[in-house]
């Protein structure tokens, strides 16, 4: 008896040829900016401009401009930091883990997802840097520089210092990985370029790439090893971020479940942000043949799986609080769910636990409008998750006389707005001047996975 596997969904539809791939992607780089793009960039720059004022006041007057107080020493700053770092997890997961698992559907989304990762990590970095108060001294506090205090070195026992190393390594390795993938595509644009500026810029960026078989062989080796290195790196980054909390003695933070729970949450929010951006990009750039419903469905399945892991983690936390018999731990969770911040907890539960379960229905996970709305809902939920963990754990701990409430100031909002402006400015510049889809890799799967080729067989 012969069993044949069902034919896989094609990754590239509408009978695109290799030449079409080059044309469809490069033309976006070569054509003049559209009014829609200019408008989008102007809005991002406006956000960035307004936000810059909040950053200036934070630096000039100090972090007293924020709503943090003696009880709640970490609030919006670290919430936003963890949120952005989490978002920055999808890109390298897509390019590294899915490369190792030979998931070819990653080829048309990895470029933009990695770009998003890098920009999200840049945004995340703003918060720890700003919350130091005097960031110009940060080099002495965060890096093992020889100094005149002793030399009194940085404390390598501290998770906060591990974070410095984890995030800067993650950022630089992701950047290199992204750039290696861009080189062949820059060469394609260089060879098509007509203007002197485009020739000079893409000539410099493509590093003299010629596409020789020997270079491609090395390129593939380098990609594979980088993927192997980046895979544990992706898992380590949010693990170490979660150590910032897990190694402390604050009820609600001191739990061993944090590393896997944070990593799952990070992938969950990262994929949601990839979907938000890709749904817009594919529509505006007309890339429906490359980023197909299949891609959206597969990403939605990942959101559903990681969302369920996050849900299990929330319930495990509640169970462990009860089962441990520690009254402080029990109070922390009771206070989260029924205390003054119950609405944040309820938002988190609804957005992160209930909403991704909708994707069990094929009709919903292949519905673009629904996916778009849900991808935003997920990231709202994930923001509230970090808010709940940080603020509700701190605002009522061991000494009731120190209990306090947190409310953000305009400057908290302003700095958050600054990072949004930064993120979208960088993303729109990327979408205009860089090829948004990895042309070389899409071409390499075209023969085996395009719709026309499947019909021929």
């Amino acid at each position: 008896m012969q069993i044949s596997a069902p034919v896989r969904e094609p990754l590239v539809t509408d009978g695109k040829t290799i030449k079409d791939v080059t044309q469809d992607i490069s033309v976006r780089v070569e054509s003049k900016p559209t009014p829609l793009w200019m408008l989008a960039l102007a809005i991002s720059l406006a956000l960035l401009g307004i936000g810059t004022y909040a950053v200036f006041r934070t630096l000039w007057d100090g972090i007293g401009m924020w709503g943090n107080n003696k009880t709640i020493g970490w609030a919006w700053d670290i919430t936003n930091f963890v949120w952005w770092v989490g978002i920055g997890h999808a890109g390298t997961l897509i390019s590294a883990v899915l490369l190792l698992f030979r998931q070819k559907w990653r080829t048309s989304i990895n470029r933009a997802a990695e770009a998003m990762t890098i920009f999200a990590v840049i945004c995340a970095l703003q918060f720890p840097v700003l919350h130091m108060g005097r960031p110009w001294l940060g080099a002495y506090w965060a890096l093992p520089f020889p100094n005149t205090f002793g030399s009194l070195w940085v404390n390598f026992n501290s998770p906060l210092l591990w974070d410095v190393f984890a995030i800067s390594t993650y950022f630089s390795v992701s950047l290199v990985f992204w750039y290696i993938g861009l080189i062949p595509d820059f060469a394609t644009i260089r060879n098509r370029a007509t203007g002197p500026i485009a020739k000079a810029v893409y000539g410099a960026l493509s590093l003299g790439w010629d596409g020789a078989a020997k270079t491609w062989q090395r390129y593939e080796t380098v990609s594979l090893i980088l993927a192997g290195l980046a895979t544990p790196l992706v898992l380590s980054v949010h693990t170490i971020v979660s150590f910032d909390f897990a190694t402390s003695v604050i009820p609600g933070w001191h739990t061993t479940i944090f590393p896997p729970y944070f990593v799952a949450g990070a992938i969950f929010s990262g994929f949601a942000m990839v979907l938000t951006l890709m749904i817009i990009t594919r529509k505006v750039y007309g890339l429906e043949s490359y980023i197909t419903i299949t891609h959206i469905e597969l990403m939605n399945i990942i959101i559903m799986v990681t969302g369920s892991i996050v849900g299990v983690a929330y319930i495990t936390e509640l169970f462990v609080a009860w089962y441990s018999g520690v009254e402080y731990e029990q109070y922390a969770f009771l206070n989260r769910a029924t205390g003054p911040y119950w609405w944040a907890y309820a938002t988190m539960m609804t957005c992160n636990v209930i909403s991704p379960q909708m994707f069990w229905f094929k009709g919903l996970r292949t519905n673009i409008a629904f996916t778009f709305v849900l991808s935003i809902v997920v990231n709202i939920g994930m923001w509230f998750e970090r808010f709940v963990i940080i603020v509700t754990s701190l605002h009522r701990d061991y000494i009731p006389s120190s209990w306090a409430m947190f409310s953000p100031t305009l400057y908290d909002l302003g700095v958050y707005m600054f990072t949004f402006g930064l993120f979208f400015t960088l993303f729109f510049l990327f979408a205009k001047f860089f090829p948004v889809i990895n042309m070389a890799e899409v071409k390499s799967v075209l023969k085996s996975s395009s719709a026309t080729e499947q019909i021929k067989r």
Partner: protein
């Protein structure tokens, strides 16, 4: 004075035809200078008889360097140069040093390997590649045969390329 180098260039528009052609051309005793492709073709390196890349070895050695540097640095700073008791632990609290050691291993391994890749492949800003055909970064695989390294007459080389499925055969010379 470098004499000009003359090449016969065959263009292929399908990776499977190209693979067959590489086998055929090499079987007929013709030396292929290089094949230029717009995307990685699986198995082409083996067909051309290239050895495996040694970049993984470079990555491993740089990784070892990273591990050593990271551990040495942390132990020197916290246990030798300025010992301090932190959280009642040993001065050289090795388990606490693992995260930073891991990160520096990955960092130095990745950057070292990529640096080697750039050097051996001669990738540098404003590097001037020899472009046999502009379409080699678009939709054509370009096979270049160097006339100097092949005793076979040029006409016969052209015929071999055509017979093995090249859609176009051109001459190209560089100064």
């Amino acid at each position: 004075m470098a004499a000009s180098q003359n090449y016969i260039v065959g263009l292929f528009n399908d990776e499977d035809v190209l693979m067959e052609a590489v086998h055929k051309v090499r079987k007929s005793g013709v030396k292929i200078e290089e094949v230029y492709s717009p995307f990685p073709v699986h198995g082409l390196d083996e067909a051309l008889g290239y050895k495996r890349s040694r970049l993984p070895v470079a990555a491993f050695l740089f990784g070892l360097l990273g591990t050593t540097l990271a551990l040495t640095m942390q132990i020197y700073m916290l246990a030798i140069d300025w010992p301090m008791i932190i959280g009642g632990k040993d001065f050289a609290a090795i388990p606490d040093f693992i995260p930073v050691t891991f990160e520096l291993t990955v960092l130095i391994s990745a950057f070292g390997m990529v640096g080697c890749f750039f050097v051996v492949s001669n990738l540098k800003p404003y590097g001037k590649p020899r472009i046999f055909d502009l379409r080699s970064t678009d939709d054509m695989h370009v096979m270049a045969l160097n006339l100097a390294s092949n005793p076979t007459p040029a006409d016969q080389l052209r015929q071999i390329l055509k017979d093995s499925g090249a859609v176009e055969v051109n001459d190209k010379s560089f100064e």
